[in-house]
Amino acid sequence: MTLFLEQIVNGLVLGGIYALIAVGYTMVYGVIQLINFAHGEIFMFGAYFAFLCLAVLKFPLWLAVLASILLCALMGVVIDLIAYRPLRNAPRLSALITAIGISLILQNLARMIWGAEPRRDLANAKSAFLSQTVIIPGGAQLSYLDLSIIILAILLMVGLNRLISLTRIGKAMRACAQDKMAASLMGIDTNRVIGATFAIGSALGAVAGIMVGMRETIEPTMGYYKGVAAFAAAVLGGIGNITGAMLGGVVLGIAEVLGAGYISSGYRVAISYILMILVIVFRPAGLLGRASAKRA
């Protein structure tokens, strides 16, 4: 029973991480109907930037985290600016292919710069404080790091929800997601809004990257693996639906941990693929999407 509880908790931690990455995919898809394949790479760079600031620039941890978030947000905006924006009116296929290209470039760039070996620098940098564990009701053991991840993820998700529903920029985002033409007729600068969407999604991705870096290791392929899972979560929740992405992240995180624990660990990643295909076959709109996911 304790083991099961620990699995659930692990699943929640992973779920929180997936949720943070998944909202990035879903928000971008919402405003420009693009599957941003490069998003996983931004998440990966989040971890590497933090490592860079720590190991090379000798920043204190909090500053490294902050710097990484800002750099990733900037990276997201720049990628949109130079790669996606020129193709705004081109066929969807062109933008999709470009996104794949960017993903390839970033992943291999990281590999060339930092090597393919997994790094433990972030994991080592977390203070002894975070490594401490606490026993929660039910008997499971939980590290302070994991606890902070869950709490932080919840806070960020709530914050994002507030942003989307209460602020002006959030309203602008929702408007653009519904109808860009109408939004621009209402005086909304759609390019700015799209840029902000990329910035926010990338920032959250960076946070997730740092979390994973602290919990596990940093390696160039982490963007691919976690990215695929997070994308599956976004599809599961209903691509384009932010709350859906959060929910999908949690569901997928728990499913993955339980599946790896009780069925087989070789198929850890495969769970994402299977879920993605099942969702598309049986309920393309996802858990929270509209019932008809036919051609828009």
Binding site: L93, R111, Y273, I274, I277, I280, R295
Partner: protein, 322 residues
């Protein structure tokens, strides 16, 4: 009934003639076998590029998991020949049909949905296959999807394993595939596919049944991929899961993007360039002490540049996009 004029213009006929002479020339070279191997690999990629082009080029749907059919063909033929002792001439069509069936199955759930969902399913499908082959030892009979000692085809009692024989083997497969794809492209079916890729709704008002035509494209594209896989299995003699990774799909996609999505000449040229460039890069990168995989960085840059500046491919001068 095959008419010479329907296959090739005289310029292409000349090219073909010289290609047939290559093994004669390389017989006198030290590295002759190695050159033949590179050419054969290039032809294989050209065949695969033609196959991917049927779905992504002709109907405009992004297939991110083409390597999946390459895998199905390779393992179907490989297992039939190595474990069950089948002849290549029987294993090849079975592999093709097997691939075609999976092509239909894979695409079926996405017929009512937008192209994005198709892309997602194709990606998940090929990755799932890869992992199954890697992990299920009972199915494949070896760890990591390892199947060994796949025999070459025999003709009139001779085993066709030599490099020059393999060269003609793949060249013939390539020409037959090109013939089929060319004729489909320039027919009522090809026109229907083009219409679908440009405007699905307008195509429907012309009486074009979208489901039917998309399914046809799925099946044919998959069968071609499987044929490539079957050839590859006996060419390599030993296959393992590592060959069939996701990035191969992206590589082949890169080839048709470079040459110009939707055009046959473009697919062939893009594949010829990248197929050989891939080999060259792999060698020079390891010489420069960089990881061989970083050639994918160049492929990524190619994709981005092409979409931005020459979406119609390097051959076309217009800015028309896929």
């Amino acid at each position: 009934m095959i008419s010479m004029s329907s296959i090739l213009s005289s310029r292409s006929g000349l090219i073909l003639f010289f290609l047939c002479l290559v093994p004669l020339a390389t017989a006198y070279l030290d590295q002759g076998d190695y050159l033949l191997r590179i050419c054969s690999t290039a032809y294989l990629y050209m065949l695969l590029a033609l196959g991917l082009n049927v779905v992504t080029g002709f109907t405009g749907l992004l297939d991110l998991g083409y390597v999946g059919f390459y895998l199905i063909g390779g393992y179907t033929a490989g297992l039939l020949m190595a474990r069950l002792g089948w002849s290549y001439w029987a294993a090849l069509p079975v592999a093709a049909i097997h691939g075609g069936l999976w092509g239909l199955l894979r695409g079926a759930p996405t017929l009512r949905l937008t192209g994005d969902y198709f892309a997602i399913v194709t990606f998940g499908f090929s990755e799932l296959l890869f992992r199954i082959v890697k992990n299920e030892e009972w199915l494949i009979g070896g760890p990591n999807g390892f199947v060994n000692d796949i025999p070459a085809p025999t003709l009139f009692g001779y085993e066709l394993w030599q490099y020059w024989q393999q060269y003609y083997h793949i060249l013939i497969l390539l020409i037959l595939t090109l013939l089929v794809v060319y004729r489909l492209h320039n027919s009522r079916i090809g026109r229907a596919w083009q219409a679908i890729s440009q405007d699905e709704e307008a195509a429907q008002t012309m009486g074009i049944n979208l489901h039917e035509y998309k399914s046809l494209a799925f099946a044919i594209s998959a069968a071609i991929g499987a044929i490539g896989g079957a050839f590859f299995a006996q060419f390599q003699v030993n296959i393992s899961a590592g060959v069939f990774e996701f990035w191969e799909s992206i590589l082949i996609l890169c080839m048709i993007v470079l040459g110009g999505i939707g055009t046959l000449k473009g697919a062939l040229i893009g594949a010829a360039i990248l197929g050989s460039l891939g080999e060259v890069l792999r060698i020079s990168l390891s010489w420069m002490r960089l990881p061989a995989d970083s050639r994918y960085l160049i492929f990524g840059a190619i994709l981005v540049m092409m979409m931005r500046f020459r979406p119609a491919g390097i051959l076309r001068s217009t800015q028309k996009s896929p």
